[in-house]
Each structure stands twice: as C-alpha cells, then as structure tokens.
Amino acid sequence: MQMNRNTLFLVVLALVALMATPSFAQSSSVVEFHGFGGWALGKTDGLKYSFGTQEGQYDNAEMAINASARPMEQLSIVSQIRFDSNSQRGGADLDYAFAEWAFSDAAKIRMGRVKHPFGIYGEVFDVGTLRPFYSLPASLYGANGFTARAYNGAGLTGNLSRGRWGLQYDLYAGQIEGDFEAPGLLTATSANFAEPNIRFSYRVEDTVGGRLNISTPIDGLTVGGSGYSGEAFTDLDNVSTARRDVYAAHVEFIRSSLTIRSEYGHLKNGTDFSADASYVELSYRLREKWQLSARLDSQDVSVNVNPANLPKIFPQLLENKEKALGLSYWFTPGLVVRASWHHIDGNRFAFPERSEDVLRALQTGELDRTTDMLVVGAQFSF
C-alpha cells in the first residue's frame, strides 16, 4: 500500500508538472511547492505517552511536501506527501491528492484523497506552526477514531459571505481512513494480551459527512460543527464491523495576542464502545515572539463488556485527562521552538513500554495512573 501511495504521489506530481506547462497556461501555470516539518524529544517519568518515553525518545521527526497547481481557471490539483520517523507504514505516506473544480466560490467539487474536514485541526493535522503546542490534543486528534487522515471519495465545498458573516461548508461521501491505538491491557483476554499497545488502521466505508464553519461579526470568533457516519472496519480478527457515528462542535477566538480554541466530540461505534472528548486550549503572545500556552484535554470511553471478566485496572484504561503548559519562541510565523510540560491522569493513551510490565500490571492490578512528560522541539513551514 505504501508503494502504491508513493507511486500515486509521483504520478500526481508528474501530472501537475505537465498540466502547468505553458500550453495550459490559462491562468496560473506555476506549480507551487510548500512544506512543513518538525522534530521533538519526549521524555516521561515512567509510562510511554504519545511520543514520549522514560528514556527519552529522540527520533520524533516528520516532514511533508505539498505541491499544487492551477492548470485552468476552474481546476486546482493538490497533493501532499508526508514522511514520519514513527510511521507505522514505514516512513512515507500519501497525505492527500485530489482535483478540485470550482463552479463558483460557493460550489467546488473535490475528487480523490482529500484531507478530512473535521473540527478545527482536521485538515492541518500535522502542521506545527498552526498551533500552540508541539502535538494536538490527544482526545480528538489522537489515534482514537474521531479524526481520520483523509477521505477517499468526492466532496462539495464552498464559501459564502454576507456582510460580516461568513460560512464555509464541506460535504463528502466515500471512505475514510485512520489509525487507532489502545493499551494492550484492554485486550488482556485476547492473544495480544502481552503487547504494550495495539495499533491498527481502520476504515469507515459508505461514509457521509460534513463540516460547517461560521465566522461571526464578532471579530475573531468562529463557531462550527462536524460529523460523519459510516460502517467501520478494521484488519483485526476480533473487532467486528459496526456503525460509527461521530459528531463534534468547535469554537475558536483569535484576537491580537490571544487565541482560545475549544472542541467537544462524541463517537459511537455500534454497541461496542462510545467516547466523549473535549479540550480547551489557550495561548497568549508576549512581545510578538514569545507565546504562553495552556491546555486541558479529556477523553472518557465507555465499553460494552461484562465487568466481571475485566482486570481490576480496567476503568483507568478508559480515561485520559491531560493538563499542559507550554512556552514557544517564534523566530518567524514559519519557525518556532517550543517546550511544554504535560501531566496525564489515566491510561487511555499512557501505558507500559515492555510486555513484562504489562503482565505485571495485569497480575497485580496496579498501574501508575499519572504520567508527566516534557516535550522540547522545533517546527517549521514554508
């Protein structure tokens, strides 16, 4: 699959280059290249959390290249490939590749592999220079089934404005893809019981979804909602197909030095499990270059299983409460260095690194509920 995606990216690049030759030059014949990336060190006081480990994980690096062209007045072609040192897919992945035909500003159709229009960050999932912390809130943007990497299919998007009101909408249908990660302890009764964590890809087929963003006359205030529904599949033998319904609401306020963002989401996966996720993120610029940030993040999962068969530590595996404080220094809007401290309560995303520690937790019924993590890193875009 990885080879296919890389090949597809090269084909799209070649098409973009060909279509941008002067013979097509009705409007902009320029192929534009942009990119983003980053590196971070994550170090925790015990359990593994996100990209942090007790020893300190240094090999968290990523880079993406974006190519776009407008060979005709109404036609845009865009593609992005991403390289991630921690990728489960072996390094490189096709983020998206799609064509867009604009009937007007209010109606544009998109076909191909399109970045998932979900919430505030869904479309700019990995772009570090568009957020106040190195990583996004795990509750909605972690590998947990809310936000997918992309949809494969067709969509309709557009902008409408009236006076100081603005509206941006997305409607789409097709298949969405994403990654899911859970503590191995959750599958303690299965063959994977000794694994520190289980991570797998999922797809939601026959998906119909949409997002609405409304910019209000209050300067800097945007509100909106997103949702989708479809049949969820995984490659795991012991996870059945189920109807997945996801909806979320978001609010964003950006004025001068102050940025406030908050989202709430609910996910229901058939009768298997459901999850509620929310976060509040606040940041403030000091003297333009410095930025202070704070975040509260929460996820609670409900699982439809018989409690009598569960290990004692099961409830804490279904919770994640994170408090984070961060400090960033912006050299330019395209380059930032940052440090942050994260205090995590619950083991939804924090788990032992070694199988023997998983077994010990299972046998003793004890697992450290809290994890502290320090992140130091740099992110850029151009």
Binding site: Q80, E100, E123, D219
Partner: protein, 130 residues
Amino acid sequence: MLVPVVGRAEAVKVVVNAANPSDSMTREKVADLFLKKATRWESGRVATPVDQSDKRSVRGEFSQKLLVKEVAWVKSYWQKMIFSGRATPPAELSSDGEVLEFVRANPDAIGYVSEGTPLTAGIKPVAVKD
C-alpha cells in the same frame, strides 16, 4: 458612504487596472479578494490579487486597515489554506512600482501601494466603502 482608503488609512491606496469597471468596493469585498474567500469580479472574471512583501510597512498598513488583521495572522491563514489544499496566497512583490506594473499588465489584477505613490497610465484607484 464612500470613504477612499487613501483618506481613511492615510497610507494605503487600493488600485486596479484602468479597464476594470469597479470604481468603489466595500472593505469586506477587498478583504475577501485578498484572502481568496471571493475569487471573482462582478463581471465573473477571476480576480488576481497581488500582495506586497512583509518587509514593507505598507503591507502592515494594508493588513491592519483593510483586512483588519495582523500580518502574522494573515501568514497563519495562508499556511492553513495551503496545507489544507484550499488555496495559495497572492504573489508578493517587493515595491510599489512592481505592483503598479503588474496591475497595469493584468486587467483583472488588484493591488495596493503607499499613499504617496503617483499612479501611472493604465492604473486607477478604488474608493473603499467602510
């Protein structure tokens, strides 16, 4: 009420090609064109906004007065548009003279220059309604 930006902002003059039928525009329309939330003139032709380098003070004046945003906000906005695959920013030119030359050569262009810049043949100012 028509308020020429040159009078209001005391620093920025919005300009279009002399062949463009528009003599006045709302501030929101100017902002929508430069942020590519709107991409067409009333005639249906695709507008071609042209920006100035962020090293120039007139860029800051334009962002503050017409877009009602800081330049840093605008830079972030374009990062979001680029990496979500929605749009790419207008070309950035490095002087008022280059902007005038670009607008003169492109009938669908819209740009801005410092207030004191004399307009050459083929260029006209646009009054901006508040």
